[in-house]
Symmetry: C2
Subunit: 237 residues, 2 copies
């Protein structure tokens, strides 16, 4: 170990521990979204209940990372790369906590959802969720490998999620107009789809954290992160 390395061994351990905690949180968030989506497709309210419960583990990990970051900042006064690592861990844990929360929201609406919900729309949501799961997986790899190019590839994947979301929005409005009995289930599906779309936004945020972690600057904010459904209607057209 040369003089530019950390001379205090336990400090190194602390930074490695932070990476591990992010990796674990990422794995849990990715899995929770997948299980929320599975509960929706199978109308499995027991699984949905488990998802709601297991979100607590992700919340606990975020608290742990928060405490650890505050401690490292106070005791180790990290500089340069180490400081960026600590700030990135703080921001990334907050995004992962939100992905857990959104998965929990999906599970809660799944429990309420009547069996009359249109199956085609449910499958589109499952496809969106599967894309977002792979975004979370890839962005965590990029984070742990400090690979900013891989991280920024996530943006292109998020565009696909957004496109699916916009077309699903129109489809759900059509179902509601065809039959008033579709209105309540389709409203829940609108919010479930929105939750998946927002989980994709948080994966994209993490990609930007990785870019900052590796390069020290924030990427140009040119990504199309707006929700196109704001401008989407049917009968006005």
């Amino acid at each position: 170990m040369n003089t530019t390395d950390h001379t205090v061994k336990s400090y190194d351990n602390e930074l490695t521990h932070l990476d591990n905690a992010i990796a674990r949180m990422g794995g849990l968030s990715e899995a929770l979204l997948g299980r929320a989506s599975e509960a929706l497709v199978k109308r499995d309210t027991t699984l949905a209940g488990n998802v709601i419960h297991d979100d607590l583990k992700i919340d606990e990990l975020e608290m742990e990372i928060n405490t650890e970051v505050t401690r490292i900042l106070a005791l180790r006064q990290p500089m340069a790369d180490d400081l960026r690592m600590v700030i990135s861990a703080l921001k990334t844990s907050s995004d992962l906590e939100r992905i857990g929360d959104l998965s929990k929201n999906i599970a809660k609406r799944t429990i309420t959802l009547s069996s009359a919900a249109p199956i085609g729309a449910v499958h589109t949501i499952a496809r969106m969720a599967s894309l977002v799961q792979s975004m979370v997986h890839n962005v965590l790899d990029a984070y742990l490998e400090r690979d900013e190019r891989k991280a920024l590839d996530i943006r292109a994947q998020d565009e696909v999620v957004d496109q699916l979301h916009t077309s699903l929005f129109r489809e759900l409005l059509t179902y509601m107009m065809e039959d008033p009995r579709n209105i309540t289930p389709c409203t829940h599906l609108l919010f479930i789809a929105k939750n998946v779309e927002r989980a994709g936004d948080h994966a994209t945020n993490i990609a930007e954290n990785v870019h900052f972690l590796v390069t020290g600057v924030h990427p140009e904010d040119d990504r199309p992160k707006d929700d196109e459904t704001s401008f989407t209607g049917l009968e006005e057209e």
Copy 2:
């Protein structure tokens, strides 16, 4: 100035500057939400356009605070109270940026909204927005005065916002079932109301940041922050 005070004058200035930046961001976010609500009530698309544009100023302030926090952490290595202040500023600026973003989303949907949107529902949303504005105002006062009791009072206000949101959700479903022509405008109103409700959640997050800032610990997470509309339907009942 005694020896326990900061001995470097410019460091004091930097911390004061951070408080000022948060105060300015808070003022802008509160005003932007108010203007988004006014644009909705008056169906003023010009005002809505201005809201969308002015959200940029809030984004810029967040970037400024991010840069300043990173610089202070690197150069000043703050301890104890100062460290908590820097971390709280970072978290609070992120919540204020989200309130700005949510106001922008309200403005975007306002531009799309047809004139057929039920006026009673619009006024309920304006009432919710006005409550959230005062929450943002009060929580920023609490932040700048380091008053954790005032901060935690925000939670009670957020419960009122949540109750209004849940009853509005039911009301909007009823309108949609009465007449299919209401479906598109009421869907946009559902999302607008959800944006206001989420802005209230971010004000509540800031209250928790204030509690951490003053006491050094996070408050017990017993607040009812769940969206009750997850369990709300009409025809299933």
